[in-house]
């Protein structure tokens, strides 16, 4: 065991910050550690598992690839935050390059940079899980205690009137005019300060991310956390997990040390892109590992209004339209979301040269809607020998609901009084009146680099189910084919959720942790 391997036993929880072993703390070239449980990743799944297991008295070690950035160091500059807090500096994309797959890469994972929206798993999704994957133990009733626990722990509550920013008020009015059901979001936030910089991390610890909740709680129960530590492989002997190995790499990319951990239990919580990659590199699991990837491909549909909106002011996410949520009614959700200047540059193509400058000058008059669809699990994550590949193309099956969500977003903008709605495509297309919606949107075709899509919700690449031929994990989160390896992150979801997944991931991680023996 090396110089830094001493256990950090915090008897009391610090009022702020977190005890983390970072690359800068390591002075030897090789670290040899041991634990009862090693957890790969410190995001939604990893942090909840760490706390639940540490509080049971297990010796827990969390290994996180990203850096430890304390809240006070967040800059509220999205361009800088992409560099420090996001996977691949915010440039993680599918192989076609037309779908940006955003994921946090820091202590606390995506929960540090997410928008705080908190939904329980919809009932009809549980029904789908029963029907298609044999997951009869998962019902709204059986999962209710898990949801309640998470909601209480993370101060999840419905937005109050002052948390409905101007963009959300204007668009709520549009939805009401159309007779559509529109509701305030629930969010995991305490005393929101309305700064509007959620995606750059919350500087004052109001967002109840893993960084300020489950991770400090786990540490208080003795869990050790190492940042800058990327796990490459899970080690096994005679069909049983015996630990992991990886590298400590500092923020400049310098390889500081190799690390090897001996542990009889390994919990995979590196997120739906990295968890299957690590398993493939380790040669573990069946041929379902990496398959069935879904991601809620989203559009950000921006529009210009006659009156100033200032989309960066106030709580970032205020209301959503659930009118079309059920697959029988369209299978999509519309969420009203604020945004900053960098995002405005990226989402639309209003025309080149003068039209673009004019569009940007109108930034204070812009508002936007994020569309989420219940996509089929058509993607695949693959380790290609020297890099990961996200194979995901919008399927022809999902294209109609993508277009239906877009048309509904345009309609809602126009009903709310927008002057021009920009279509999220690589060419300059926009709509100014209701009668033109179909004609303009129908110009969009499902071909690479035509649509501008973003995913905030990678899921499903190691899905659970009862049939080994169609699932990578069993209904308790155990990886098939090897003892002692559990999956406790968004990879586990058997089908895409349609709603924002963090609460489902927290609840499932708690469920899996309760079953770790």
């Amino acid at each position: 065991m090396s110089d830094t391997a001493d256990r950090i036993d915090t008897v009391e929880m610090p009022r702020e910050g977190l005890a983390v072993v970072q690359a800068s703390d390591i002075s030897s070239e090789r670290l040899e550690l041991s634990a009862d449980v090693v957890i790969i990743g410190s995001g939604a799944g990893g942090a909840v598992s760490a706390y639940e297991l540490a509080r049971r008295g297990l010796d827990v070690l969390v290994l996180e690839a990203g850096p430890y950035v304390p809240s006070k160091d967040f800059t509220e500059d999205f361009t800088e935050s992409l560099e420090t807090l996001y996977e691949d500096h915010g440039g993680q994309a599918n192989t076609d390059g037309d779908l940006l797959v955003l994921q946090g890469r820091c202590v606390g994972g995506s929960t540090v940079v997410n928008g705080c929206v908190s939904f329980r798993t919809p009932d009809f999704i549980f029904e789908e899980w029963h029907r298609d994957y044999g997951l009869t133990d998962f019902t709204p009733e059986s999962m209710a205690p898990y949801f309640e626990r998470v909601e209480r722990n993370l101060s999840i509550q419905e937005n109050r009137p002052h948390e409905i920013a101007r963009h959300s008020m204007v668009l709520s009015e549009g939805a009401r005019k159309l007779g559509w059901s529109v509701k305030p979001f629930k969010r995991n936030i305490r005393e929101c300060a309305l700064t509007g910089h959620c995606l750059s991390g919350c500087k004052t610890e109001r967002k109840q991310s893993m960084l300020v909740t489950y991770l400090p709680w786990a540490a208080a129960h003795g869990a050790r956390i190492h940042s800058d530590t990327r796990v490459d492989k899970v080690l096994t002997e005679n069909g049983r997990a015996v630990g992991v190995e990886g590298r400590v790499v500092d923020r400049t990319g310098r390889h500081v040390a190799d690390i090897r951990v001996t542990a009889p239990r390994v919990i995979m919580a590196a997120g739906a892109v990295q968890t299957p990659v690590i398993l493939q590199r380790s040669g573990l699991g069946n041929d379902q590992v990496g398959r069935n990837f879904a991601c809620h491909p989203s559009f950000y549909v921006g529009a210009r209004y006659p009156q100033p909106i200032h989309p960066w002011r106030g709580a970032m996410l205020g209301v959503y339209v659930d009118e079309f949520m059920h697959p029988d009614k369209g299978g999509f959700v519309l969420e009203v979301g604020g945004l900053g200047i960098a995002e405005l540059c990226m989402i639309n193509e209003p025309g080149t040269g003068k039209p673009f400058v004019e569009y940007m000058q109108n930034a204070p008059h812009m508002a936007g809607i994020v569309t989420l669809i219940h996509d089929h699990n058509v993607g695949e994550i693959r380790w290609q020998g020297d890099h990961k590949a996200i194979h995901y193309q919008l399927s022809d099956k999902d294209f109609p609901s993508m277009m239906a969500s877009l048309k509904a977003a345009v309609r809602m903008h126009l009903a709310a009084g927008a002057e021009e709605v920009f279509l999220p495509s690589s060419e300059a297309l926009s709509v100014t009146r209701e009668a033109d919606i179909d004609r303009q949107v129908d110009k969009l075709v499902n071909k690479p680099q035509h649509l501008r899509m973003v995913s905030y919700h990678p899921q499903g690449s190691c899905r659970m189910g009862t049939d080994p031929a169609h699932s990578a994990c069993d209904p308790q989160g155990r990886l098939r084919g090897v003892e002692g390896v559990y999956v406790a992150d968004a990879s586990l979801l058997p089908s895409s959720l349609i709603v924002n997944p963090q609460v489902t991931v927290y609840a499932l991680a708690n469920y899996v942790a309760d079953r770790v023996t």
Binding site: E16, E80, L82, G97, K203, T204, I341, C345, E349, T352
Partner: protein, 193 residues
């Protein structure tokens, strides 16, 4: 106009997979620190950048002029006041070697791509109107062209508007927590059960 039928001269070195990885440039485009306009200049007044070749800097400067004619709108100049190209230079300095190579290839192709349909001229030698037409043709062109153009467009625009000197023109407030003096809450209390 649509140049879908342009010959693919100049695209040969670009394998599909290699090009697709250029998608990472879009992300990289967002991550440069803000630079200043200072720096060395050649005798004919061209700026010299540490991480961009002379040709790359010329292509990016010309592209910035074409994409962002900001002065006409009373905004800080995209090539004079705001160091858009210097910001891209900083970005290039931080890139992983593989991504940097891709950026070089993208710029090389972009400079030479107009040769077939624009009187065999390079991009930097086209007049304003032709240059704009070329960019638009790329935006509605083939899969490769659309991707390449989206990447460059995003890189230029983000590296202009990320600079706080452009914010007053948009009534954008930037970071606020410090200005507002928002109190920190620290870690959440441990749950009781």
């Amino acid at each position: 106009m649509n140049n879908n039928n342009l010959p693919t001269a100049g695209l040969e070195p670009l394998t599909r997979r290699g090009f697709l990885r250029a998608a990472t440039l879009t992300g990289m485009a967002l991550t440069a620190g803000c630079a200043s306009l200072g720096g060395r200049r050649t005798p004919n007044g061209e700026a010299v950048y540490a991480h961009l070749s002379e040709e790359e800097a010329r292509v990016l400067t010309r592209l910035t002029e074409i994409l962002l004619p900001t002065e006409q709108f009373g905004l800080p100049s995209s090539t004079g006041e705001v160091p858009t190209v210097a910001n891209i230079n900083d970005m290039a300095g931080d890139m992983a070697p593989q991504t940097r190579d891709l950026m070089a290839m993208v710029l090389w192709i972009f400079e030479r791509r107009p040769m077939a349909s624009f009187r065999f001229s390079r991009f930097t030698r086209l007049d304003d109107e032709e240059a704009l037409r070329y960019v638009r043709a790329m935006q509605s062109g083939t899969f490769f062209e659309r991707g390449l153009m989206t990447t460059l467009h995003t890189a230029v625009c983000v590296n202009y508007w990320r600079d706080s000197r452009t914010w007053p023109g948009l009534d954008y407030h930037g970071p606020v927590t410090g200005i507002w003096g928002v109190r920190r809450l620290g870690n959440a209390p441990m749950p009781t059960a």
